[in-house]
């Protein structure tokens, strides 16, 4: 705990917040910055940082929730595989995300076998204990894709395969930067992902878009210091990559993990739910791993699902705009009413990394800037 508390010093936080207010004031207009990580949003909400941000600083959560941007057809593939008799092992949140015609939880209610696991290692254990075909429905960004790659390289049981819905963050930043409605003037990059990719990976992006990128950790001081740096870069019109998480992140990153990642996966284009087609945004298994690729091992009859039209409520869901940073949960007529964690309409309310779920968990985000505790 002593370690954590070092990065939770309210006095230093106040000094940073004051500096942030000054730097934002220097810019002289509204500044919008985007982070691309659910863990950043969790920390911002949990520590009440938004109330300490200057009024003209707009910190937007982008497509940083891997569960949320898993596209409906990917959920549908898992549902169909489950209905065809495979045992699907996946993370808890994925079980409840609605596809075109229901979620994995609905498939389970109709008799399919779905196992909730905390890691791919648990899914492997499961495969060893049974003769059933076990399909690990793999989601997550490059951070979790590395774990999937390592397990595949180590060898998996014969009845085990992977349905990859892994995503790769750097390309989506390009798309958001190029969106016509975008107001984003800088990005906060996720520190844990950068421990693997290295901060150098953002240099071509900065050169192309002339937007600054700051790599940030997850404690309150990490986030405030990184936002301050980002606003200073905006103010000084000095687009660059700055690593504000040097206790974990290097320029090169974890070379060994990168080698394993690209040995197993290749990036291909594909839709991110609600956002757009993202070139190179999806990670799929390379040809040499066809034997453990569920998409090549089984025939997945998706057409059987697609006679269903999405529900009226689902059509009102604005998850896509929220993840693209052009709307907030407060703009959604379903938020907190028809759409709550118990009965989510959109994926952003399902996942603990989703913007709507986080805002709901911390009571929405009303303006509490003027509240103080006078005891």
């Amino acid at each position: 705990m002593a370690n954590l508390l070092e990065f939770r010093d309210p006095i230093r936080a106040r000094a940073l917040a004051d500096a942030l207010a000054r730097a934002t004031g220097d810019v002289g207009r509204e500044v919008s910055l985007m982070h691309v990580c659910g863990s950043h949003e969790q920390a911002i909400a949990k520590f009440g940082l938004r109330s300490a941000f200057p009024r003209r600083l707009n910190v937007i959560m982008g497509p940083g929730c891997p569960v949320c941007i898993t596209d409906q057809p990917e959920i549908d593939e898992a549902v169909v595989l489950a209905q065809q008799g495979a045992r699907i092992a996946t993370y808890g949140d994925m079980v409840r995300v609605p596809g075109t015609a229901g979620s994995l939880a609905d498939a389970q209610a109709r008799g399919a076998t779905i196992d909730t696991v905390y890691s791919i290692a648990q899914a492997i254990d499961l495969a060893r204990e049974t003769t059933d075909e076990v399909v690990f429905f793999a989601t997550g960004f490059e951070t979790t894709a590395v774990a999937t790659a390592a397990v595949i390289l180590a060898g998996v049981p014969k009845n085990f395969s992977i349905l990859s819905a892994h995503k790769y963050i750097p390309p989506v930043m390009e798309i958001v930067a190029e969106m016509p409605d975008t107001r984003v003037e800088g990005f906060l990059a996720a520190g844990h992902a950068a421990t693997i990719t290295g901060w150098g990976i953002f240099e071509p992006f900065v050169a192309r878009h002339q937007l600054p990128v700051v790599v940030a950790g997850f404690e309150p001081l990490d986030i405030l210091a990184a936002l301050l740096k980002l606003v200073e870069l905006v103010r000084d019109r000095a687009p660059a990559v700055v690593n504000m998480f040097p206790r974990c992140v290097t320029r090169e990153g974890n070379r060994n993990a990168q080698r394993q990642l690209w040995q197993v996966f290749r990036p291909i284009g594909g839709r991110w739910r609600g956002i757009a087609h993202i070139p190179n945004g999806n990670l799929r298994l390379r040809d040499e791993w066809a034997a453990v690729d569920a998409r090549r091992r089984f025939t997945i009859d998706l057409a059987s699902l697609w006679r269903h039209a999405p529900s009226t409520l689902a059509r009102q869901c604005i998850c896509g705009n929220i993840m693209a940073g052009i709307a907030s949960p407060a703009d959604c007529p379903l938020f907190g009413g028809a759409c709550v964690p118990d009965s989510p309409v959109g994926a952003c309310m399902v996942s603990s990394e989703g913007t709507c779920r986080i805002w709901h968990q911390y009571g929405g985000v009303p303006n509490l800037g003027d509240v103080t505790c006078p005891i």
Partner: protein
Amino acid sequence: MSHLVADDRIMLKHGAGGRAMRRLIEEAFLHAFETDPEVPAGLVGVAAMDDGGAVRLGDRWLVMTTDSHVIQPPFFPGGDIGRLAIAGTVNDLAMMGAPDILGLTCAVILEEGFPRADLERILASMRVACEEAGATVICGDTKVMGKGELDGIVINTAGMALAPHLVRDGGLRPGDRIIVTGTLGDHGMAVMATRHGLALDLDLRSDVAPINGLIRAVLTAAPDAITAMKDPTRGGAASALHEMASKSGVGVTLDEAALPVRDAVRGVSELVGIDPLLVANEGKALLGVRAAAVGRVLEALRAHPLGVDAALIGVCTEDRPGMVILDTGFGRRLVAEPEGELLPRIC
């Protein structure tokens, strides 16, 4: 489509002490039991949804309460279902301002095959808790159900006590201070760590204890200064404070740095991502206190062995009635009322 099938079946969330449970009670139980729209003076009935009911007897109040206890596992670090069953009812009476217990009842339902030795261990523990509370079980009932019809053991206790003045959970006024009688989150975290076999090298123990003696001490030291009381059991301090704030029509602002939380509880809370404010306690109370009496109340609490960690944690405001706001030291956020179960069946 799940939103369309909501609430035609009872779910675990309906017993978890949060919003779903409150809605079920309001929609089903109050509808059944609250027939007279004009509640007579001299009665605190079910519609008050307080820790107990009360009937005026001359110049005093007879307070009654009842509580059923189900917990997995029945034995946990720091206590067991028997101790919980005595503390739960005694503390509910104390929260109404009635710390002197007239008598308790004890009804036990057992599953066929339940070990006799476990039952006797539970009863011995109830006896110890009764001695600590200065209370006596004066009647009881025993039933046995078939194997699989019940999970081990269910204990219901009810209790009666006399109060010179009632203390309600909705009596907070703007300017009142919020005091908690000790550390938060111990019971729920200990039960969860046991249940999930979190092999942590930490001293996590439930705080389950009858605290009527502690409450008697504070009511004696500052008889007119306590404006509201509630014990933060299921749903934790977050749920209890929401209820107190909304019934009282005040806002509550908490200072996170002032919240007493043991290191072990804080550590597990970081690990599993559950806020200690949402976690159950079984030997603590939240008190609304007139500002001028804060020193006296803290002194009386800290002089008692069960109140040494008592702390001033927040203040009531006229603004934002019904809201509970946490000042984290970095900024402010709302403390949301928990919706459903974080941890099913913990008390």
